[in-house]
Amino acid sequence: MIRGLPRRIAGLFATLLAASFLIFAAVYAAPGDPAVLLSGSRQELTPEKLAAVRAEHHLDEPLVVQYGRWLWDGLQGDLGRSFQYRDHVADLIGARLPTTLELVAYATVFFVVLGVGSGVLAALRRGWVDSAVVGGTTLAASVPAFVAAIALVSLFGVRLGWFPVTGQGEGFTGRLHHLTLPAFALALSALAVISRVTRQAMAEAYASDHVEAARASGQSERQIAVQHVLRNALGPIVTMCGLVMAGMLAGTVVVETAFGLSGIGSLLVSAITTHDFPVTQAVLLLMVIGYVVVTTLVDLVHPLIDPRVAPGGKPRSKPEGKTA
């Protein structure tokens, strides 16, 4: 645990530095002059005026200097001002982040409970239950989140009227009520991945010798399933849950747009359509940091759950659910 730690932390920062540079440099290389965007198109644009705007926003400095300034300001919480709203980017994100985090947390509850539950069920009850779970998860993994979102709204929102289709909700239960369909749409493909991993890990644990030994010593099947099988299968399950949850931050882009929620995912979409580069950069950076930090944490925690895993020895791998 301790031995590999400095290397992992160094790797984490190297990845973040490279990713943040990519985000900044890509926008720097974008066609079009940011000075024109910044000065607003209504005024007369003389070369002197453009030069003044460039100097004011440090656009006349070399790329690396600009990047350093952006990163340094960003670390101090100043992410610049939005082109679109003329507001501080940090304030825009701060106002929308709670909705996104609530959505991710709610979806995580969904996919952990239902995913692990169905996986365990499939591993314990072979036969038609198993086939049904495998078939159901194949289906769930193949439905894009936005199609799931619209199907859920159509059925439970419009036809049955069980859930509201617009708005954010008031109070805790109101918000929960409003976020149920979005969270489920977000959780659907994750649920399939977790269910498969759980089923696989349980099946592998069942095949090991100590389960046979426990059975021979006369323990009940229930006790074996909980103490020997699930306990041993927990490592991969928890790891995968962490990785999938980390990737969900990106999944909110689609789900928030589909349900008209005002979170950082929908903020990113509107920032891109309006060419609001500071907001685009900041949201992308935030999502990448969240993802990389959580996946690294998961890797570090894994040996604590499952001591058989050598700490820091394995490279980070990407979870399968790639749908954003």
Partner: protein, 283 residues
Amino acid sequence: MTTVTAGALAPVRGRARRPVPVMIAGGFLALVVVAAVCAPLIAPHAPDAVDLSASLAGTTSQHPLGTDASGQDLLSRVLYGARSSLLAPLALLALAALLGVTMGTVAAWRGGWVDTLLSRVTDVMYAFPGLLFVVLVIAVFGDGLTTSIIALGLAYAPTIARYTRSLALAERSKPYIDAYRVQGMSGTRICVRHLVPNLAGAIVGYLVVLFGEGLMSLATLSYLGFGAGSPSIDWGLMVQEGQDAVVQGALLPALVPGTAIAAVVVAFNIVGVRVSDRLGKGR
């Protein structure tokens, strides 16, 4: 860490005969391809024929799947939409395969700094979860179908490169490669003529699995407004255009293309797992 491929748990029984779900999925896909090719012959209406008097009509004998808000026939639009929805993932995979197989083979063959560079590039790309890398490219170079295809191609290339690299490393150590070397054949020639063709089966199997994902990603981008633009007919775009009608109680304009996307992706995943099982056999 456990990396799970879509087929990790598919039942392995029935190797000799094709399982029923695979047959159904394969038949369905063949049907979709035929429908896309013959769309002008079988579509009952022109896909862009506006008929405001038939706006949001339900299923009628004239419009078997109903109409959208401007009275365009949904069946015709889904049939025409199949064309770009199937061709775009194909283009994206061709680009990704070209880049990925080249990078992977060179990394495995040369090793050294090329290999290190590949793994560094892959690391940075993998720091972007989901479609975020593609979103970054679109933010910079503007939206549109071409940008989406190129961006997704770039995003998929490292994954394919990594897979090719692992296959090529195993293949490289086989005796026949040494035999060609002894004959004095150049490294490039061995790779292009012998090594890559020998890996083709496994790579194609992998690409079939990726096709469903590519279709899904492209549809998602079109839905978000980053992909195919308004006059073109695309399933993801159709869902976006039909979404406003859902709240009014007209579900067909969004659900018909949405179901088409989901059904094709499901079918591709079922067939893809089978194909990659067969083609990747013995590796």
